[in-house]
Amino acid sequence: MSDNLIMSQYQNTPSGGRIHPHKFTLWVAIGSICMMFAAFTSAYIVKRNQSKWLDIDLPIAFWYSTIAIIISSITIHLAFKSFKAREMVRYRTLITITAILGIVFCVLQFIGFSELKNHGIQIFGQGSNPAASFLGVIVGFHVLHVLAGVAAILFIFIKAYSSKLKNYSIVPIEMISTFWHFVDLLWIYLFIFFMWVR
């Protein structure tokens, strides 16, 4: 009962070349996610101006994770290009590398927090400072979005292998690639934000 099946009954209605509705939906969703992080970061700014704010140096691991996610953006872009060129072997390798880099990014973020913990900065629980808790919540929710991207890659992968029909629609990979670049840019924004606004 996919929507494709339902839509396939319909004849075409010529209405000019517009953006694919699913891609458009993704862009609106990206706007929505931006609002969520805008809320987080503005709450951070409001809270920072109140008493008892802890000045935290970002852990080194965050620098490495930044590099990892930037590389993953490049690999998914190359994967998208090879998909368009129908170089499927190259595409599969690159998309796998992207997913692995995504997981590496998440692990590095986790290492970053254990680094902070070793320096005696408590993220959650009794005695935690809101500055550290904010870092934990915001970075944590960004990691969830990266993991969502990894899950999406796994999903199209499994679909590509399980389906008997060869599917050459570029829409899914294009959408994942857009989302991946967005998550990358979101992290760069957060990283710069945390470095400057302390």
């Binding site: 694919h20 509705p21 939906t25 609106v28 969520m36 809320a39 709450a43 809270k47 809101p130 599917n167």
Partner: protein, 606 residues
């Protein structure tokens, strides 16, 4: 390539090409499950939203009757209630204080979110967007189905919170910390609050899935010739509603996430070292409850317009159709919707004038708040001028639409009072506020919803509602709405605060005992009248007068060009093409010209 084609592009390519030709001949067989339960048809999803919303409206309304019973008859004992509701809710024949606060909180949450957001825009956005823009279905019918089922899950969780031992959340629908962040603050802050926040998180997901779909559908799936300026105003209103939701609900979610961390993981976003009776000083340091208010009201204020705009859009459409006149100032209507949508994001702090907000900052918010009067006045002016010298048909839908305009005016005027930070010092948290927002947002939007149901019922079920019952419903409801909420203005001006359990203990408010009793009595009568509407609704589905013509209201919009019982896909054969705006009523002496009629050579331009 069209978007219809784009959506099934993958199917066409993946299946062999010879099936392409007969691709639209085969029927897809629907089972009971795919047709009525996990349906992806926008019309069925709309009905699911509507009926779930109606269930909640009855429950939420019943809650208000219960707490009005306490307010109107604080000295009476209702022992039979104890037998029905049990000892936690009613003790010695009286509503307990815990139950009273639980009822007030749940009434607010349910009515604002479950009835007037999901029930109103969920129903009519799903039903009207594809039908009025000329699309087979939503951009993503699957996401649309998910949107309903997330709402259903939220409903189940919220309902279950009524049955836990410590009772449902009782800290007010705004869920301010510390009552919402501290389990030890009150009985309702324990399990009840956990369930409340889970339900609300599910609800936010449902709204976002719905909103994304509405925006993508309106912008991408319109039929040929349906330019943005040929859209009915219902669609414009639903579009701005969806934009508001998509931009403001994530902010609420952020606020809730921080709240969850404060509740469960010992953080100090909202909690500081306050003293709690029986607990002592909290270990938290440096949290700010005001921060939550900022995050909450950044959603909370747009939420008001999420509720109101769909009603405005439907009323515009219904007024025009039943006045047999074009809507007055179509572009001004769109412009004022746009202005309201922008201003909605810039006025949240007027809910916080008395929180210690900087008075200079407050004056900016006063100015921005009062600016909303401009687009609101434009809309009222346009509605009145649409009615002016119209050939008015007083159908029940039209009555409710006119009732909406009346309520919007009388409730909106008191908004000008409350928008002033100086007056707000006196009026804040009094019954004046309750009267204001119930009339302008609550009852007015309910009227918009009723108008929509009466108007589009023939399209939903292929039957007519009973008109006589409709008129009885209308007159008792509008009279009742004014009789309930008008006196509350006087109570509020006299300084009577909201949320108190019993006013008869206060010398200053004893004078209102009779008035409160009067309000409670009317509330019960109005609630009973809504049951009449429910009877009309469900009886007419099966036994109502059958719709015999495709276009019973002689309306111009596209939904009336579909069969009386449209299947999934809405139109048999091609989707009609659109040649004109939807408001050609009485043009060149012709009563109405549907949007599908090509513009004639001798026709005058509008």
């Amino acid at each position: 390539m069209s978007n219809e084609a784009a959506l099934h592009h993958s199917v066409d390519v993946s299946t062999s090409h010879d099936t392409h030709g007969d691709g639209h001949m085969h029927h897809h067989h629907e089972t009971f499950i795919t047709k009525y339960v996990f349906s992806q048809d926008h019309k069925m999803i709309a009905k699911q939203f509507l009926i779930t919303g109606m269930v909640w409206a009855v429950l939420g309304g019943l809650m208000s009757v219960l707490f009005r019973l306490q307010l109107g008859y604080p000295d009476s004992h209702f022992y039979w209630l104890e037998d029905i509701l049990g000892k936690w809710w009613v003790k010695d024949g009286q509503i307990t204080p815990e139950a009273y606060y639980a009822l007030v909180t749940t009434h607010g949450t349910v009515l604002v979110f479950f009835v007037l957001t999901a029930g109103l825009s969920g129903t009519f956005a799903n039903f009207l967007i594809p039908l009025q823009i000329g699309a087979r279905d939503m951009a993503s019918p699957f996401m649309n189905m998910l949107s309903y089922w997330f709402f259903f899950a939220a409903s189940c969780v919220m309902l279950s919170s009524m049955f836990v031992e410590t009772g449902p959340f009782s800290g007010g629908w705004t869920a301010y910390p510390p009552l919402s962040a501290l389990g030890s603050a009150s009985p309702g802050s324990k399990t009840g609050m956990d369930l409340w926040i889970v339900a609300m998180a599910l609800f936010v997901v449902s709204s976002l899935l719905g909103g994304l779909n509405y925006i993508a559908t309106i912008l991408n799936m319109r039929t040929k010739g349906m330019s943005m300026t040929r859209l009915p105003l219902t669609i414009w209103a639903l579009f701005f509603t969806a934009v508001l939701g998509v931009l403001s609900f994530p902010v609420l979610l952020s606020g809730f996430i921080l709240l969850i961390f404060d509740r469960n993981f010992g953080t100090s976003f909202y909690l500081s070292d306050i003293f709690i009776n029986g607990v002592g000083a909290l270990p938290n340091e440096g949290g700010s409850a005001i921060l939550f208010q900022h995050l909450f009201w950044f959603l909370g204020h747009p939420e008001v317009y999420i509720i109101l705009l769909p009603a405005m859009g439907m009323v515009s459409e219904i007024l025009s159709v039943n006045s047999r006149k074009p809507i007055f100032g179509y572009m001004a209507m769109i412009g004022s919707l746009f202005a309201i949508a922008i201003l909605a994001f810039l006025v949240w702090a007027h809910h916080m004038f008395v929180t210690g907000l900087n008075p200079f900052l407050g004056s900016v918010f006063v100015l921005l708040t009062l600016l909303i009067a401009v687009p609101s006045a434009i809309k009222v002016f346009n509605w009145l001028t649409t009615l002016w010298r119209g050939n008015i048909r007083f159908t029940p839908a039209m009555m409710f639409a006119i009732g909406f305009v009346s309520l919007f005016i009388s409730g909106g005027l008191t908004g000008i009072w409350l928008g002033n930070s100086a007056l707000d010092i006196h009026l804040h948290d009094t019954y004046f506020v309750i009267a204001h927002f119930h009339i302008v947002m609550g009852v007015a939007s309910m009227f918009g919803m009723f108008a929509g149901i009466y108007h589009w019922y023939p399209k939903m079920y292929g039957k007519h509602l009973n008109n006589t019952l409709g008129f009885i419903h209308f007159w008792i409801t509008i009279a009742g709405a004014y009789l309930i909420f008008w006196p509350m203005h006087y109570e509020g001006l006299a300084g009577m605060p909201r949320r108190y359990y019993d006013y008869s203990n206060w010398e200053s408010f004893k004078q209102f005992i009779d008035l409160n009793r009067f309000i409670s009595t009317v509330a019960m009568i109005v609630f009973a009248t809504q049951l009449l509407f429910l009877f009309n609704f469900f009886y007419s589905i099966f036994k109502g007068r059958k719709v015999t013509s495709r276009n019973p209201w002689q309306s111009n919009t596209l939904e009336w060009t579909t069969p009386i019982h449209p299947g999934h896909g809405n139109w048999v054969g091609e989707i009609p093409e659109v040649y004109r705006w939807p408001y050609d009523y009485g043009k060149d002496g012709v009563d109405f010209i549907p949007q599908t009629t090509p513009v004639g050579e001798e026709e005058s331009h509008h």
